[in-house]
């Protein structure tokens, strides 16, 4: 995506994503599952957004479409003036390669590569990446560089996944329940890493969680239920991750 206009919205903030009446229907033959029923949302440059909602409310679906991993049934997703729902396969690939960092609900590490190499898979195709070692230090795994995923706990695997996502210095960071499998102390380390990336690099960050406590660190909290946005709350005071506990 060569053209990167910044779009000025009414409230003076820089819009990164503009989502317009987005719907997603899973056609299961006899039944149709409406995962998203017309979502309207704007995400601004540099903000940290938490997507909150019960299981099955469509959070992952929304995030996947934002990240160019899935296609919408109807509606639009505009990323910096470019309509993702009309992008070609090649444009989507480039979008994912240079602009987005993912942290998946299920770590999706490559089992045959070590921690460092798993990060390397991403850095070697990025434009201005961190060193894999640095990315791993940020998530506190600087001493587990040469371990294979199977030799690490679920939480540690997730932190590798985060290191992998931030290592390319992405413009947006999309995290699907990044702390779901972590104990509170480790979760805070992870969230701190995410917050630091967001603050220092100005990376627009979206974090899915069903843990309302985490919402405290967000600029805005978007509540999703049954495929619709029920409310959006702007935090006047942002807590830092180490102030959170659950």
């Amino acid at each position: 995506m060569a053209e990167e206009k910044s779009v000025q919205s009414e409230n003076g903030k820089n819009t990164v994503f503009k989502v317009k009446s987005l719907t997603k229907v899973y056609d299961m033959g006899e039944v149709k599952v409406h995962a998203l029923r017309g979502v309207d949302l704007e995400l601004y440059s540099g903000e940290l957004v938490v997507l909150l909602g019960p299981s099955g409310s469509g959070k992952s679906t929304l995030l996947n479409i934002l990240g160019g991993l899935d296609t919408a049934t109807d509606g639009q997703v505009i990323y910096r003036g470019k309509d993702l729902t009309r992008a070609t396969e090649q444009e989507l690939t480039e979008y994912r390669r240079f602009h987005v960092g993912f942290v998946f609900q299920f770590y999706n590490l490559i089992p045959s590569l070590t921690a460092r190499e798993n990060v390397g898979v991403v850095t070697e195709i990025a434009k201005r990446p961190m060193k894999p070692e640095d990315a791993l230090s940020i998530v506190g795994l600087g001493d587990r560089l040469d371990h294979f995923p199977a030799q690490l706990s679920g939480g540690e695997q997730q932190r590798i996944a985060i290191a992998r996502a931030i290592a390319k210095n992405p413009e947006v960071l999309l995290c699907d329940e990044p702390t779901g499998a972590l104990d509170s102390a480790t979760g805070i380390v992870v969230l701190e890493a995410l917050e630091q990336v967001n603050r220092k690099l100005g990376t627009t960050t979206v974090i899915i969680t069903h843990n309302a406590d985490i919402a405290g660190m967000a600029d805005r909290v978007v509540h999703l239920s049954s495929g619709l946005i029920s409310e959006i709350i702007s935090n006047t005071v942002k807590k830092s991750p180490w102030e959170l506990h659950w």
Binding site: L69, D70, E117, V121, I125
Partner: protein, 787 residues
Amino acid sequence: MKELDRKLFRDLWKMKGQVLAIALVIVSGVSAFVMLISTMNSLNLTRDRFYKDYRFAEVFASLKRAPENIKDRISDIPGVDQVETRVVADVKLDIEDFPEPVTARIVSVPDTGNPLLNRLYIRKGRIVDPFKDNEVVVSEGFAEAHGFSPGDTFAAVINGKWKKLTIVGIALSPEFIIQSRPGALSPDYKRYAILWMGRDALGTAYDMKGAFNDISLTISPDVNANDVLAQLDNLLERYGGLGSYTRENQISHRFLTEEFRQLQRSSEIFPAIFIAVAAFLLNVVVSRTISTQREQIAALKAFGYSNLDVGIHYIKMVIAVVLIGVAGGIALGVWLGKGLGMIYMEFYRFPYFIYELRPSVVIIVMFITIASAVAGTLYSVRKAVKLSPAEAMRPEPPALYRKMFIERTVLWRLLSHPTHIIIRNITRRPAKSFLSVTGIALACAIMLAATFSSDAVDIMVNVQFKLSQKEDMTATFVEPTSRRAANELKGIRGIEHVEGFRSVPVRLSFMNRSYRTSIDGVNPDNKLRFLLDTNLETVHLPPEGLVLTDYLGDILGIRPGDILTVEVLEGSRPVLHVPVVGLVKQYIGLSGYMDIAALNRIMREGDAISGTYFTVDSLYQTEIYRKLVDMPGVSGAIVRKDEIKNFYETQAEFFLFFTFVASILAGTIAFGVVYNTARIALAERGHELASLRVLGYTRAEISYILLGELGMLTISAIPLGFLIGRGICAYIARALGSDLFRIPVVLEPATYSLAAAVVVASACLSGLIVRHRLDRLDLVAVLKIKE
């Protein structure tokens, strides 16, 4: 893409068992290809080199006797290059400690030393002294069979006189690469020899001083051989010429050409089948391996790897496996090719063997395997990347379960729950199950194709030598003789039943096609020779007219009712017109058959016979041999038992080697297929099976689920394999049929059993290996991962 390459090596290393199995399949395919093609090329090269270096003649003719000065007139025929006259004679040999009848052809060498054409390659000793009538050079095959070296002696009956001969040299000639007695099916080095003797000495013995009875020549390349033949025949006619011919009809060359043609066909068919099967398997294995990596593919795509990047990654992986296989296959193929070449060298008497592996062979084999592997990869990678990453990251949707017919029967309730799982697993993925079954079936089929030739040989031998030939011995006469000569044989002690036969060398022509063969005449109600067709029905010889084998009928393009031109190639050489009254399907040979009375009648020769068939009392066998050697009218004798034994001895080694190698390769393929099927099933099911273990299923129960499926697939693959295998065999039989043999497609139960046994054994072995892995399934891992 350094990290991805690392992933590639680690993945390959983790799958090393499977990689090895796939590589073995490729090794088998490639080595079969390289072995046969390189042997073929090497033999051709060796033959061409030998022909060229030792000046194999291009036109040959035999005659009764012509004065030497005719040679000049032959040289004057336009297009004739070099001419060499010779004296050639057939003799009986008398070898101490070897009582069986041995015949030989003596060929003169010019008084000036080594011949101009058909030069001798002297392996040991020296060329003969042209004026010494007790010196001979003998053919290498014969010398080896009897353990002769220069200095050894034996005796020959030369023009009726018993003569002691001393071997001075051992030689090979481009004229006798296959050293076969005229009319025999296979070379017999023990009982048939080629001897070379000085022209002066041999000429004296046969009253051919200043004369010759055999001629060979070369012609310039731009001249029509048929014109030369016609003029030569014209010239030689008054000297009793028996019809000139080109290399095409020269006995050694013709056999060699036939054998090479068969080898050529084999080298086209077998490697094609092997490579096709290997490619198919590679395809199946690669696509299923890739489908087990769909989540990793999804993740790579999510990070921004393009479809092309992912495709290249898997193609590299496949090429790595293929290259291991191809390298191993070429190495093994060269080794086997040299081995096969050496075995052919026992059969074909070349002085040397030049092994050649053409770069084109390597390139072709690499191209075929890599192309088919990459094609398979592309297909499955395309399938894998087609999904959006979000979708691919979810496990494959469970197939829709529909209740099958069997589930509504009482039988269903009698089956255990694990059995239900097996049946559903097989039926819910019919395409996958079908591919597995086809793979295993192909393995079974190629086992059949590899082993069936020995069945075919047994049948041919049984029909041709045992059912249709009941005599113990055959004696041939120096020239057609009155039937009374048979009575002389009857008088010998131990000879029981005697039947005369007539065999007339002829050139048969119809329209513009012709073929040199012989017409055999026998008494229709004789008790020793039966003309059988391939259904083992006795063919009754009609009182008039000629019966041909259907194959000869095809060659001549003739049908019953047509009139055939028969040019007799002996005696007064009449040209006759004989109606063809029937065609008969036979496995071996290309003769015409007639009632002997009818044959004698059209030849206007009274009751002449060319020889006799007879049965003997084995007690007197040796005594009978001796008597036959001493009878001047008898030019040679053949013992049927020896002929069969020799056929097996000369053919067996080749067949054994070929069948052995082919079955090992086919067995390897069978194992590779079955093992991979099992491993892929394990990769696909491991998670589900581990979950069942967590739920309290025993090792035995989950093993039963996986191995039971493998067992059911294997068992249903075997009959399909038999069917495909029979098809392949029928194709091979048709493709390899030749002037000399028609190959029957009859597969013995033992052949089927062997093929099935190899497949079942591979399945058991794979099952054991997989069972070992099942026993060590990581249950905790299951809990760590989603779902």
